[in-house]
Symmetry: C2
Subunit: 344 residues, 2 copies
């Protein structure tokens, strides 16, 4: 037997559908006895309103779409947690949409959102996602989170990656490091680019040697970067990875290679995912409060949906969380740090 509809309840209670709707939605213009009677009947029939129908007629779904490139790792789970907490507080549901890196699938997916959500939180750091933004209808309230540059001005939330990278490099320099290896993220990722840019700027300004190795934000590419360096017997005293997972990969590889961290090589990451404080040595990293970041995006989106004007670009500046992996050590503050090639 299918679910009861509002008309079933109306018939059973010998009233009109309007009265049922009024009774169940707490309208004031209804006789209390009638209201209670209708509620009783609705309960008896196990009536549950059909949200889809309600949404259609109200032109509001109380749902927001979350567009993310990927679900790997703790960054997204933290972001999602923050968004969920806030959304649930505001009585909103979360519709998840993962692009899996495919921009065209992203456009299709975006279209699928119409009539399903009241607004979107979009995270699309791929430089190539220009098409995506063009397909983001003006009529759809949306907050852009850490997105690649795009046409026009939109409500936006960004991490100040350049400042974060600069701060990390300064921290490394302060610890006595002079020869930095930067493991970069994907070339088409705006976060990765900006972190690289900040690293370049800071190294140039502080007179540090810089070598850049390509990576892809995954643990393995951090490991691979160290393998390359080891094979070359390269000379460096710090590894700064563009995100924490690559830093972890590097850390593990260094450990296996018998290189002491931080004594011989300091290691730093970016994002401050929860596990950074659990590994050993604990990882130095650039941190923003990821969950708060997500929550903030939801708050702003809710404002937009309610019609509040908002087209500001809001920044979050990361701070450096100094942990064991870059603990300052006197012997490295000299001009002549231990060279990797010397022992092996």
């Amino acid at each position: 037997m299918p679910n009861a509809t509002i008309r079933d309840v109306a018939r059973e209670a010998s009233v009109s559908v309007a009265s049922v709707s009024r009774a169940l939605n707490g309208a004031t213009n209804i006789r209390p006895e009638l209201r209670d009677h209708i509620r009783e009947v609705a309960n008896r029939l196990g009536y549950v309103p059909h949200a889809g129908a309600r949404n259609l007629s109200l032109a509001r779904s109380s749902t927001i779409g979350v567009v993310v490139p990927d679900l790997h790792g703790e960054f997204f789970s933290e972001l999602l947690r923050g968004m969920d907490r806030q959304a649930s507080e505001l009585g909103l549901h979360l519709l998840l949409m993962v692009m899996h890196g495919e921009a065209d699938r992203g456009v299709t997916a975006l279209h699928a959102m119409r009539g399903r959500v009241d607004g979107l939180v979009v995270m699309a750091p791929q430089i190539t996602s220009d098409e995506l933004f063009q397909h983001l209808p003006r009529t759809m309230p949306s907050v852009l989170v850490n997105c690649a540059p795009h046409e026009g001005v939109r409500p936006e939330l960004r991490v100040d990656n350049v400042a974060g990278a600069v701060a990390v490099v300064e921290h490394l320099a302060q610890g006595g490091c002079r020869r930095i290896v930067h493991i970069a993220g994907p070339d088409d990722n705006i976060d990765a680019r900006e972190r690289l840019q900040g690293t370049r700027e800071a190294c140039a300004r502080l007179g540090l040697e810089l070598r850049v190795i390509a990576g892809d934000f995954l643990e393995d590419s951090g490991t691979a970067a160290i393998a390359t360096l080891q094979a070359e017997r390269a000379d460096y005293d710090a590894v700064f990875a563009a995100n924490d997972m690559m830093a972890v990969g590097a850390l593990m590889a260094l450990k296996r290679a018998g290189v002491a961290v931080p004594e011989q090589v300091a290691v730093a990451g970016f994002d401050n995912i929860p596990l950074t404080r659990l590994i050993s040595p604990a990882l130095t990293t650039a941190s923003i409060d990821i969950a708060e970041f997500g929550a903030r995006a939801v708050v702003r989106l809710a404002g937009l949906i309610d019609g509040a004007p908002d087209d500001t670009l809001e920044w979050r500046a990361p701070i450096v969380i100094a942990r064991e992996s870059t603990r300052q050590h006197p012997k490295n503050t000299t001009e002549n740090p231990i060279r990797r090639g010397d022992r092996e």
Copy 2:
């Protein structure tokens, strides 16, 4: 200007709404030129179908609801990742719903799903969620994942917690451990209970001493458990926590207290979350493929939605992943393991 509707397209193309619907949904009974013309007009107007209206009329939303108790930690992010991968493959969307531990909110939330999703994947390990299952309408296809016992038979997927715990204890015993401390999970959590039960059974059978300390599945309670033991100068040679996060907390606390792991005390967890292999010593744990587990739930739900009969209870038996934290050490295989209280 609001979004174009199917009627706008029909008017602009001088055809009926039926033709527009046919043209855009690839029906065969339409003249190709007309179809192309309509598509062209639709494109020009930037027409995107209203998913909500479509769902209402098709009585199908292509969305599945995911009900989870919490979003903390990597377990859920892995589960979600597996579900998303599968859902996206099947052309389904994911609507997230976190209960935040409140059973009554859960019931409300469940009702909110009606007309929004075609089916549910429900994870409700709280013993108290009986009410929840009663409010799960029979008409709503749903797959239960690691749920507490409940009335009636439903399509279900479960981790064999008892077997997993037994396997871990056997592994510990094989390594020479005789005095086990089990850090239990929340008392009202079915997974926690079963893991405790398995631990009890195995210890009894193997003649091991067992002490149980209460925990709550969070890292801090693992830390607290060790603090308690230290304060008492308790005598034990293995800590088996009911999940990985508590094991990690215990591991950190032991390290800080100067207790060597695994030499003095072996440590094991449960779940095999990704970070277990990254910490040091790497954590021994009971593992199932969490992402696959989630994906499987989605596959079965999709089957149910398509009307396939399915009321089986499917089990996943965890396997023990032996890592450094329980590395076998000869001196502990004697009847007289090092007592914690002897050094400090």
